[in-house]
Amino acid sequence: MGNTITEKILMAHTDLREIRAGELINARVDIALGNDITAPIAIKEFRKAGGRKVFDRDKIALVLDHFTPNKDISSAEQCKFVREFALEQKITHFYEGGRVGIEHALLPEQGIVVPGDVVIGADSHTCTYGGLGAFATGVGSTDLAAAMLTGELWFKVPETIKFVVYGKMPRWVSGKDLILHIIGRIGVDGALYKAMEYTGETISALPMADRLSIANMAIEAGAKNGIFPPDDITRQYVEGRGKRPYKFYASDADAVYADIIEINAAQLEPQVAFPHLPSNVKGVSAAGDIKIDQSLIGSCTNGRIEDLRIAAQILQGRKAASTVRLIVVPATPAIYQQAIREGLIEIFLNAEAVISPPSCGACLGGHMGILAAGERAVATTNRNFVGRMGHAKSEVYLASPAVAAASAVLGRIASPAHLA
C-alpha cells in the first residue's frame, strides 16, 4: 500500500518509517509564518512558555501585510511589537514597508518556500504553497509560537481527495474558476480535515500562478492542504529563486485516496461565488443583473502579475463604469514594478482604477476598500462571508480577474465575452 505526496512529505519531516492517514505526528517545520495580526499573540505565547530564542532565525517569516500601511494607532502598535521581536531575534525573513508583499504571493516569489517543504503559517491561506508541491497549512497563533520555539508541530495526517482534471479550459476560464467550481461542487466542508491533490492533463499544463490560486482556496473547502505534483513548470518557477535546496515528491501509484473526483475543464465557464459562502457558485451566464459598486483585483488568491495582465488586457482602452470604484492591488513590490514596466499600471490608471500598495487590507475588511451597508463588490479574493469586506449588510461576489475587470467596465457582474 503506497503513500500520497502529502503523507510522503510529512513522513520525511519525522523519524518515522511508515505513516498513515489519521495518525497524530510531530513533524519538523521548514518555514513558520506570521503576520501583523497573528504574530503578536504568538510572540506573547512564545514568551509565556519561557521562549528566549527562536529555534532557527532563518526558518521564520514575519510579514506585516494585513493592516499595513498602518491603518490606525492600534495596528501601528501591533506592527511595532512584531518588529521589535523580529529585530531582537534577528529574523531573516522579516518584511515591512516598501519590502512587504502579501505573504502568500511574497514567500514563493522570494524562494523562501520551496517544493517538498513543510510550511505552517498563522494565516489560513498558508495552503497556497501546495501549488509548489509543498505541504503547507494554516494554523493558529499558539501553533506558530510552538513552532518558533521547538521547530516542530503536531499534525493529524490527512486523508486525501484526488481531483483528476481533464479537457482544455475555454477562453477566460482560469484556475480561479476551476477552484470555485470545485468548492461549489463539494461544499465549504467538502474536504474537511483532508488534503486536496490535483492531477490530470489540465493540471500538468497549468501555469504556476493558477496552481497557487487553486491551492490558496483549499481552506475554503475546509481542507488542511491543497497540493500539486511538482513537474517541469514547478522547476522553471523555482530555479533561480529557491533560497534552499528543494525536493520533488510524488504520490505512489497505489496510494490510498478517500475519494477521486473527475472534472471536465472544457465544460467550465467563468464562475461567480454569490454571498455569503464560497460554495454558493454559479456560472457567470446565470448570474443575472447584479449591479456592483466596487471591483477589487488583487489578494493572495489573484494579485500576481499573470492576474494583472489578464485584467489589463480587458481594461485596455476602457474605463470603469462611473458607478464602480475599481481597486487594483499588485500583491508584491516585484509584481508592482513588473506591472509598471509592462505598462499595466498606466492601463489601470487610464481605466480610472485606484492602485493600492500591496496589502491584505481590503480583502478582509481592514482598510483601503471597505463597503458600506447595501453595497456590492465583485472581488478576486477568497471569502464572501457576511461582513467580510465591511458592513454586515454588504455583499461580496468572488470571481476571476477577467470577470472582475469586465464587471468593473459594465457596472454589473459580467464575463469579458459580454464586452462589445
Binding site: L24, I37, T38, P40, I41, K44, E45, F46, K48, A49, G50, H66, F67, K71, D72, S74, S75, Q78, G121, A122, D123, S124, T126, G138, V139, G140, S141, T142, D143, A145, A146, L149, T150, W154, K156, V188, D189, L192, Y193, I219, G222, K224, L277, L364, G365, G366, R383, F385, V386, G387, R388, A392
Partner: protein, 165 residues
Amino acid sequence: MIYKGKIWKFGDNIDTDAIIPARYLVTSDPQELAAHCMEDADPQFVSKMKKGDIILGGENFGCGSSREHAPIAIKAAGISCVVARSFARIFYRNSFNMGLPIFESNDLWAAIKEGEEITVDGGAGIITISGGNKQFKIGKIPPFMEQLINDGGLMKHIAKKRGIK
C-alpha cells in the same frame, strides 16, 4: 470537566469573521475582543448572554480565517464551552491549543431549542438536556488532545515537556 449552561443556537458554517470581525483585530486583548463576540452573527449576543452559557453550532463551526482571536473572544466573553455538529479544522486545533473546551455532537442540534439548558460531561462523554433524560454522545477525543487539555494548552504542554515551569 462538567459544564452546565444555557444554549445559544447558531446554524451551519459560522465563520470566524462572524465570531470576531476583522475590523476588531487591531488588538489581541481578550476583553476587548470579547466585547464583539459573535457580533456579525447576532449583534446583541454579548448583551444577552451570561457567564457559563454554551454556544451550540451546526456543521463546520469556525470556518474561514485562522485567527485565534475567535476562540479567545468566545472564552473571554464567558462562554463555558462550544458544542457543534462539526468544527472547521483550524478552529478545532486552536481551541485545544489555547484551552477553550469544545465538543462534537451530531444529534444534539436538532433535538434542542435556543434557551434550553444542557449539562456537558466531558469525562463521561455525555451531554444531557436539563429536565429530561435524553442523552447525547460526544465525539471521541484522541489521547494526545486530552493530554493538551489536561496540561492547560499547547504551550504549557511544551513547557512541561521541556522542563520549564
